[in-house]
């Protein structure tokens, strides 16, 4: 048995890879569910019902998908240029914190204020990733390490702020930041649900990112810089500027996710407001094959697992942590699937 590189990868295979990866992840997780004493088919049926079985369930799933689309885009944009931004979680929290802080005492009318707060969240995320990117460009510091470790620093910093200067005095001692002003809460998309216009923001972002990556000079240059940096430099593409530009966009998208989540769902910031949106964004991006349209689909899948697992947990007693297991497994199976799209197995 040996691996042979494929000359051309058929489009059908590219599309089938994430589906196969998800199926394999679900099959593997089925073993764990069975070990918990529950029929996996029953559990998965509960999961589907919990995420898609009613109007409320669907809106809840879409609400959860909104930040995932944005963090997924953040990872996809960066990974395409081989900038390994593992710091989506930190950028999400800083975007959220700055949005709550400024949004608490801003004196602008609603729509303008919302736009400004989004820009603030984006700028915060961008700045947070610009540092590691600059360190890599200047000193060759591995951004996987710096961005990953920054996540922990950011979470502790957020904890510090919401226990201290930004503490909400009306939260009865609950560690939560001051909330954004009611004028800056994102309008509901569907009345009496939690689904907010942030979903439209995320979808628009996906469209814009697709446009940038596939149609602009900058997009072609970022792809060249990711695929073959030496050839890109030879062709006159300024690598440092390109990578920094990608870092700013990626950080901004993750920061925007935090900003939108605060304005759309939580109001204030807590250290548990994200069930790992930043990290799950990496899985979303990989399942999507780093393609913006794929990101939307993959985010819907991951959100289905997250939301459905809660319902499954209530109905069957399987701990809802199984959601994290499924998402993590699907990253691993996707990596294997990618291997098989690039290579074929030959029996010799």
């Amino acid at each position: 048995m040996r691996l042979e590189r494929r000359d051309a990868v058929p489009l059908a295979l590219v599309a089938a890879a994430p589906l196969a990866a998800v199926a394999a992840a679900l099959a593997l997780a089925a073993g764990l569910i069975a070990a918990a004493g529950v029929n996996p088919l029953t559990a998965y049926a509960e999961m589907l019902r919990g995420a898609l079985g009613s109007r409320l369930a669907v809106t809840e799933m879409l609400t959860r998908a909104t930040p995932l689309i944005l963090t997924g885009l953040a990872a996809a944009v960066a990974f395409r240029t081989r900038l390994w931004n593992i710091g989506g979680e930190g950028q999400f929290y800083m975007g959220a914190l700055v949005t709550a802080w400024i949004g608490h005492a801003l004196g602008l009318p609603g729509p303008m204020g919302i736009a400004l707060l989004m820009v603030c969240g984006m700028a915060t995320g961008a700045v947070l990733l610009a540092g590691p990117a600059a360190l890599r460009l200047r000193f060759g510091v591995d951004e996987v390490v710096t961005t990953l470790l920054l996540n922990f620093i950011v979470i502790l910093f957020v904890g510090l702020m919401i226990e201290g200067p930004l503490r909400d005095p009306l939260a009865f001692g609950w560690p939560q930041s001051v909330p954004v002003d009611g004028d800056y809460r994102l309008p509901d998309l569907i009345a009496r649900t939690r689904l907010h216009v942030g979903l439209l923001v995320a979808l628009t972002a996906a469209g814009i990112v697709w446009l940038i990556l596939s149609r602009t000079v900058f997009g072609v240059e970022t792809r060249a810089a990711g695929l073959n940096p030496r050839a890109a430099a030879f062709a006159g593409i300024p690598l440092p500027r390109t990578i920094l530009g990608v870092a700013l966009i990626s950080g901004a998208l993750a920061g925007l996710a935090g900003s939108v989540e605060v304005m759309g769902v939580t109001g204030g910031v807590t250290t548990t407001m994200s069930p790992g949106f930043g990290y799950a964004g990496i899985v979303v991006a990989m399942l999507a094959g780093l393609h913006p349209a794929g990101v939307v689909a993959a985010a819907l899948f991951v959100a289905t697992v997250f939301v459905g697992a809660d319902a499954m947990g209530r109905a069957t007693g399987v701990p809802s942590f199984i959601a994290d297991v499924i998402v993590a497994l699907s990253l691993l199976t996707m990596l294997v699937a990618l291997l098989f799209t690039t290579y074929r197995i030959r029996r010799s």
Partner: protein, 505 residues
């Protein structure tokens, strides 16, 4: 004389492609056999079958009379077959001894027997005239020395049949000559050798017998003493291929002028006060042994590295700090030394590669958006004009053969009708047909008045194309001599640095 190796009726298909079609050949004890063929003729596939990397669809391999089980490299090694790949398989951060010993010791052994291994390695090195420092880190060795380690690796495993895949592809001429002298000595010590090549002169110089492959079939077998380069070339290509000849014509005014230019990379002076002038309609050849500053010269003229001292001008305009895009704007075109590493982004489409250098010009973008239709049309035009086979604008460029990729890169350069062309090793690794095509394009550009700087390690190429030639040795350039006064011997001396201080420019 006994037959040490017999291949009988070897056939191998990859999908629709038949890489080997009923090939039979044998190797005699103490013989050097050359396996000659163009790129894609099936030479490497055949040797990979012999070594057990691939399993043949039909046919048998016999080593010292014993049939070899298919697709078992370990069986091949045990039978005494050693292979030296074109791309070395060495671990750069390990020592020579570590690399040689790797995989020869049982995993269950607790302590490595380095002392005895070292003695054995030195003994082999002595016996076959392959001097080596066992403790040197491989990363610090030159390419020629690394190849020596690869050969030692095979000999350490008791190889009695040695297969070398394009052994001179990465070597400069003197190193190659030394290699063949060593191989000759090794056959006297009882080894039998097959080397794969597409270079006629080395086949003529180094082999006892030649087997020619074309399109996966064996088309001829000749005793080297009974054939000629012309016959072999025709057998290899299947038709007569003549490299184009340089016609005399009027040389124009100085266009690219380097005045005492130095280049420092990582604190080391790679190019030391080099001066040269390329005139319009002239090809200036820079010859030298690999690693003597050609890389820095290429980087300088590609706009990747600015000069640390001296002045570089194109038609009077200082271009030292111009960068790649500035150079292209100023009318320069660059053919990079390594088309895979620098010339093309393998996983991007042909059309994207065709316009990558000029993406930000109005021809191919407006308001930051790529003009995809214009870019595709341009790529289609290049494919047609420069006879790039097997390509459409949307083909990923990785799928093109080396020659066709090079034609596209050359086309990308020439399409702008540049005033100056840097051609850095433009035919490295190409087969005869592609070399002739590249030479013809460069000569056509010369006839239209372009100034061309040719960096080459192939003396035949430099002599055939250049109007004047300079040698590069440890970052210093010799004075230019007219091609008419140059021959292989004089150039060889110049490349060794023997041009005398009075001659140095």
């Amino acid at each position: 004389m006994t037959r040490v190796l017999e291949l009988d009726g070897i056939t191998k298909r990859f999908g629709r492609l038949t890489a080997n079609d009923g090939v039979s050949l044998h190797l005699m004890q103490g013989e050097i056999l050359a396996l000659l063929g163009e790129n894609g003729a099936g030479k490497t596939t055949l040797m990979n079958i012999l070594f057990g990397h691939y399993a043949a669809d039909a046919g048998t391999v016999r080593v010292f009379g014993q049939p070899l089980p298919p697709a078992r490299p370990r069986a091949a090694i045990a039978a005494g077959v050693g292979m030296v790949h074109q791309h070395f398989t060495l671990a750069g951060n390990l020592s020579v001894l570590d690399n040689v010993m790797l995989g020869t010791e049982p995993l269950t052994r607790l302590a490595s027997r380095r002392a005895s291994a070292r003695a054995r390695l030195l003994d082999i090195a002595n016996r076959f005239g392959l001097p080596v420092d066992p403790e040197a880190r491989v990363a610090t060795l030159s390419v020629g020395e690394r190849q020596r380690v690869e050969i030692l690796k095979a000999l350490y495993r008791d190889a009695r049949i040695l297969i070398l895949d394009e052994p001179t592809a990465v070597l400069a001429r003197p190193e190659a000559d030394r290699l063949f002298a060593t191989l000759r000595g090794m056959t006297a010590g009882g080894l039998s050798i097959i080397f794969i090549s597409h270079k006629l002169h080395e086949v003529m110089a180094a082999s006892d017998r030649v087997v020619v492959l074309r399109g996966g079939r064996m088309v001829a077998e000749r005793a080297t003493s009974a054939t000629s380069p012309a016959e072999l070339a025709e057998l290899m290509v299947g038709r007569r291929v003549d490299r184009p000849l340089r016609a005399d014509h009027r040389i124009g005014a100085p266009l690219l002028v380097a005045d005492a230019v130095s280049v420092t990379q990582g604190g080391t002076t790679r190019l030391d006060a080099a001066s040269f002038t390329v005139h319009a309609g002239e090809i200036l050849g820079i010859v030298g042994v690999s690693g003597n500053g050609q890389g820095a010269l290429g980087a300088l003229l590609s706009g990747l590295t600015p000069p640390s001292a001296g002045r570089l001008t194109l038609d009077g305009q200082d271009i030292g700090q111009a960068g790649p895009r500035g150079l292209i704007r100023a009318g320069a075109a660059r053919v990079p030394e390594d088309r895979h590493a620098e010339g093309a982004v393998g996983d991007m489409a042909v059309w994207e590669n065709a316009v990558l250098e000029r993406l930000r010009t109005p021809a191919f973008s407006s308001r930051g958006l790529v003009r995809r239709a214009a870019a595709r049309a341009h790529a289609a035009d290049l494919i047609a004009r420069f006879d790039v086979r097997g390509a459409t604008p949307d083909t990923r460029i990785r799928l093109l053969s080396g020659g066709n990729m090079q034609k596209l890169i050359l086309g990308r350069c020439l399409a702008t009708r540049p005033r100056f062309i840097l051609a850095n090793q433009p035919t490295r690794g190409l087969d005869e047909g592609a070399i002739a095509a590249v030479h013809a394009e460069l000569l056509a550009a010369r006839a239209e008045g372009a100034a061309i700087l040719l960096i080459s390690e192939e003396l035949e190429e430099a002599l055939a194309l250049s109007d004047r030639i300079q040698a590069i040795v440890r970052g210093r350039l010799s004075r230019a001599i007219p091609a008419a006064q140059a021959d292989a011997r004089r150039l060889g001396l110049m490349m060794a640095g023997a041009w005398g201080d009075a001659d140095a420019a």
